[in-house]
Symmetry: C2
Subunit: 139 residues, 2 copies
DNA sequence: GTAACTGCAAAATATTTGCATCCTT
DNA sequence: AAGGATGCAAATATTTTGCAGTTAC
């Protein structure tokens, strides 16, 4: 795990610091998307609020994490898949937001179907957010 | 136009006030989605910032407008179609964000295709945001 | 006339910036 | 040692709340 974290940082040409290691670890362990607030909470004892802002920003720039659009317009961040590169995200997968437990997960397996756009329109990136009830919350 | 605006407000059981008429008119004329900031700019001479917040909030509650999720996580508001009701939005259409001119439009005509979710997952609402170049900006 | 709406002031939050100090390479 | 990263303080920006005065019905 520690290896994995360092490898990701090195690959993005980032120096390996306490806050970066820690925040990256939080994302890996969480498995689902996190709001800035969530990250701040989990690190409040250790890092300054500003450091969290700057770390998330750098992770975004390097393509380590990406934002997920939500209807509630909370800013959510999630780990990118390996094939994300700096400045070019391939996060064309589906995000599922559970309305019960609130967890947001990336459904990497499900492919977004093709869409027929009107003449002249050119799609570059497609984001799909599904709201509903997840398997855990369904009884 | 004035008739249309009053009809919408009446239908939602809202009293017809200057700010509501005005902000609703801005949305109808804009044709595309607007950020809070946009609305505030267009009304700054006439209304207080707080009034804009409260008006947008009421419009949301009554289902007159809805938010659009964007990857940039700007909060965007757009008019709902007629079939939106209070507390129950049927805005399962596609939103197109032009990366050139920045305009966000609702593509009401295009239907979102069915998605096969993993077992146990239950979809309630689906949002789809397509980023690209719109017909106007394409040369 | 009454209930609801608005503006103003101010509180509460969230985000950004500058700079001195500390850490990674 | 040098450049970049962090913490702290403070500047900005955003959103919410309370209350007194005004307006719609």
């Amino acid at each position: 795990m520690e290896d994995q974290i360092i490898k990701i940082l090195r690959k993005s040409q980032l120096s390996v610091t306490e806050s970066r290691r820690n925040i990256l670890e939080i994302f890996i362990q969480a498995g689902s998307a996190l709001a800035h607030h969530d990250v701040e909470e989990k690190t409040s004892e250790r890092f300054d609020r500003v450091t969290v802002y700057r770390t998330l920003q750098v992770f975004m720039e390097k393509g380590i994490i990406h934002t997920i659009p939500t209807t509630e317009n909370a800013v959510l961040y999630a780990l990118c898949k390996d094939d994300c590169e700096e400045g070019h995200h391939h996060d064309n997968h589906i995000h599922f937001v559970c309305e019960d437990c609130g967890a947001t997960t990336c459904m990497d397996d499900i492919h977004i179907p093709e869409i027929k756009l009107p003449l002249g329109y050119n799609a570059l990136q497609i984001n799909m957010v599904v709201n509903g009830i997840c398997a855990k919350c369904k009884k």
